[in-house]
């Protein structure tokens, strides 16, 4: 048996095919994406690619936000930060409350309002960081998005 395997080794390594890797990673959820960033350096670099996170953020948004959104989000800190700071907590909280029958596996569909709310909160977060960088804030200065980090008492 081993001899057979040695003969027909296809020598396929996904690391050689970055575009395939990207396609695969695009379909992961947030946590898995973060985990995959710990696999090796190549994966880490790829996982930092903002387009992956863009896909993740608005995968379930219906209707999907327009392309004009991208420069704004990039300027405000990028999709990865948007996901970490706003989208993930918002989705998880709203998803938890929507106790529909089929949303167990969370095809959490975003409405435009949800997207808009996340973007607004993201902008507020950027503005607050501006304030802190300007020397006005103290190290423990709260972020207005801290309420998203607290455990939800559902």
């Amino acid at each position: 048996m081993e001899g057979n395997v040695k003969e027909k080794r296809p020598k396929f390594c996904v690391n050689d095919h970055v575009d395939i890797l990207m396609e695969i990673l695009k379909r992961l959820d947030g946590r898995s994406l973060c985990v995959s960033a710990c696999v090796c350096r190549l994966w880490c670099t790829i996982a930092r690619n903002d387009s992956l996170w863009e896909h993740l953020c608005f995968r379930h948004a219906s209707p999907p936000p327009s392309s004009g959104v991208r420069p704004v989000i990039v300027a405000l800190g990028g999709y990865k930060r948007l996901y970490m700071v706003c989208v993930r907590p918002v989705l998880s909280r709203l998803g938890r409350l929507r106790i529909a029958g089929d949303s167990d596996r969370a095809r959490k569909v975003w409405t435009r309002d949800g997207v808009q709310l996340s973007l607004s909160l993201f902008c507020v977060d950027y503005y607050e960081r501006l304030g802190r960088l300007g020397g006005g804030g103290d190290a423990s200065g709260g972020s207005s998005l801290m309420f998203l980090c607290k455990p939800v008492n559902v």
């Binding site: 409350l97 309002d113 709310l117 304030g131 709260g142 207005s144």
Partner: protein, 609 residues
């Protein structure tokens, strides 16, 4: 032989519940103060005492006073005073004579290590013990102590029943005890010290007299006597006392108010959570009013109040709700404009505008040119806070690609503002929005101010005027009504803070409470021009705007949906409620609306000003 409900309470710090007519008695405790002799007739006093739940006749006051004197001597002479602080003996000051006797008996019994409670009675170590023998204690006063950590029940506030029972929680830790009378006979309780361990475990609760003891502290020993305290009744009593004190102040009866005020402290300590904090703040405000120590600096230090407001902003959704709903109304009004101008009556940190700018940036037709005029109070240290905020907003605008202009105006009062100085452009060129979040109510101290400001607003020819105000009437002419309203309002607010999921002690929570506490102080303790927190209800504002020539603009369903979603993100999300009220949105906690957003535009029939 006195009363039914008799509980014992550790006397070290909580002896404020005494009422005595004779002026010579005083309690040597931390809060001890001499009771001034009231000149009121005994009959009236009796009624008042009965109303408050004190089962004592004013004729007995002299007797009680004498015993208090003795007690004071005893307390003063005992250097083991501190052990009382760690004691967990509870007294019911509703029955003053019995309480005093308990205290005295306890002092007599302390040196004794004998566990037999019968010896307690006969242990006469001081000359004061002569008063002990007049009591006939029954020994078997054992009942169970329950530590009730259930959620404090704020329903006590609207409750009107004035229960005569009253319990004090002396313990320094935060455990609350549930205390109810057990048994029905009239024998008074025996004050039992922790260290005495004289409880008789074989005694069943059903045979214990109605007099009950509370023992807090470590409940590791099973033989410890146990008591149930009903904190809801205490809460009702606390509210009752607060209202009675306010009424006394209103009637200019400051001595009586002072007397009542001293009762509030220990009552408040017996509560936990939101109720305790609310009661403490209201008590402090009442004290300021009684002793005429008016706070002067409410408006002066705006950076301090801004900091507090920032913490409040982060902790609970009220200000965020205000911003998001107002922004939504402004956004809809600016739908097709290519140049927009927002006039913010209270810029503070400018937290409202990033979200609006982001929404404008992502507008389908591209962002308009955005001009912001911010109005703020003068700074004590002459720093230009407005310009700093403007600079930050300009940075943000540059980041997201919105053309931005900023202008700041410093004004002591909005009434000083004139439309001409704002450099407005004609409405064909520029769409104007006026925004006021919690600012307009400050103008209500003088009757002309608000009308002047409304006139100025009309002169600005805005497309929309967004107003957010507290939904409460804290501006009535009668002090007692204001106090009552404020008590209910801030209780709901504090309750919602408790539900915010922040584990105390958290800096955010503390600062938020301080922010609200300052408002409470202003509503209750200040008068005239100093009282700026003159909240009025949405209905009252509607009347004002209607008569000033404004038409209401309905906030759309988008605003409602966004608001609901925003609230769902907060930890206490299911406690918050968004309601729609004739086109205005109200955010409330459970059934109580707390803030209201409304939108207006100048009436169509108005000619160009």
């Amino acid at each position: 032989m006195k009363r039914e409900h008799q509980e014992t309470i550790g006397g070290a710090g909580s002896s404020n519940g005494n009422k005595a007519e004779s002026s010579s008695s005083s309690m040597a405790t931390g809060k001890g103060k001499i009771w001034v002799e009231d000149d009121q007739d005994a009959g009236g006093m009796d009624e008042l005492l009965a109303v408050l739940g004190y089962k004592i006749k004013s004729s007995e006051m002299a007797d009680v006073a004498q015993k208090l004197e003795q007690l004071e001597m005893v307390l003063g002479s005992e250097d083991g005073f501190s052990h009382l602080a760690s004691d967990t003996v509870h007294y019911n000051p509703s029955d003053l004579s019995g309480w005093v006797q308990n205290m005295l008996s306890e002092f007599n019994n302390l040196p004794s290590t004998d566990l037999d409670s019968s010896i307690l009675l006969s242990n006469n170590q001081d000359s004061q013990s002569s008063t002990i023998t007049s009591l006939d204690f029954s020994i078997n006063s054992q009942s169970k102590v329950f530590v009730d950590n259930s959620e404090y029940d704020l329903r006590a506030i609207p409750g009107v029943a004035a229960y005569p029972q009253q319990e004090f929680d002396k313990s320094n830790d935060r455990k609350r005890m549930k205390l109810t009378p057990v048994g029905s006979n009239n024998a008074p309780a025996l004050a039992v010290n922790n260290s005495l361990q004289s409880s008789n475990p074989s005694c069943s609760p059903s045979s214990s007299p109605q007099a009950i003891m509370a023992v807090s502290g470590t409940l590791s020993e099973p033989t410890r006597p146990v008591v149930l305290i009903d904190s809801q009744e205490t809460g009702v009593h606390l509210v009752h006392t607060l209202l009675a004190c306010a009424e006394a102040i209103q009637q200019e009866n400051l001595k009586f108010a002072d007397a009542l005020f001293k009762l509030i402290g220990p009552l408040a300590l017996s509560q936990a959570g939101a109720m305790r904090k609310v009661a403490t703040y209201f008590a402090e405000a009442l004290a300021r009013r009684i002793y005429k120590i008016f706070p002067q600096d409410y408006c002066l230090d705006s950076s301090y109040s801004d900091t507090l407001e920032m913490h409040f902003y982060e902790t609970c959704p009220y200000i965020k709700f205000a911003h998001f709903t107002a922004n939504q109304a402004i956004l809809e009004a600016f739908a097709n404009a290519s140049r927009v101008h927002v006039i913010d009556f209270g810029l503070k940190q400018g937290m409202q505008w990033p979200a609006l700018m982001q929404a404008l940036a992502l507008r389908p037709g591209g962002p308009p040119a955005f001009r912001l005029t911010g109005i703020g109070p003068p700074q004590p240290d002459n720093t230009d806070a407005l310009q700093q905020v403007g600079w930050k907003l300009a940075q943000l605008a540059q980041t997201i690609g919105v053309k931005f202009e900023f202008r700041g105006f410093v004004a002591n009062s909005l009434a000083d503002l004139e439309a001409e100085i704002l450099d407005l452009r004609p409405p064909e060129v520029e769409a104007v929005a006026v925004n006021s979040v919690f600012e307009l109510h400050r103008l209500l101290d003088r009757p002309g101010n608000i009308d002047k400001v409304l006139g100025s607003i009309k002169a600005m020819r805005p497309k929309i005027v967004t107003i957010v105000e507290q939904e409460a009437n804290h501006n009535g002419p009668v002090f007692l009504d204001r106090f009552n309203e404020a008590l209910h309002y801030y209780s709901s607010l504090f309750d919602s803070l408790e539900g915010s999921g922040l584990t105390p002690p958290s800096q955010d929570l503390v600062m938020s409470e301080l922010y609200l506490g300052r408002q409470i102080c202003n509503v209750v303790a200040c008068e005239g021009a100093d009282r700026v927190e003159r909240h009025e209800t949405l209905a009252q504002w509607r009347t004002r705007f209607d008569s000033a020539g404004f038409d209401p603009v309905h906030l759309g369903s988008n605003a409602f949906k966004q608001a609901s979603m925003l609230l769902a993100l907060f930890a206490g999300g299911d406690g918050y409620r968004v309601e729609e009220n004739n086109g205005c949105l109200m955010l409330g906690w459970h059934t109580r609306p707390l803030i209201a957003t409304s939108a207006w535009r100048p009436a169509a029939g108005d000619s160009q000003l």
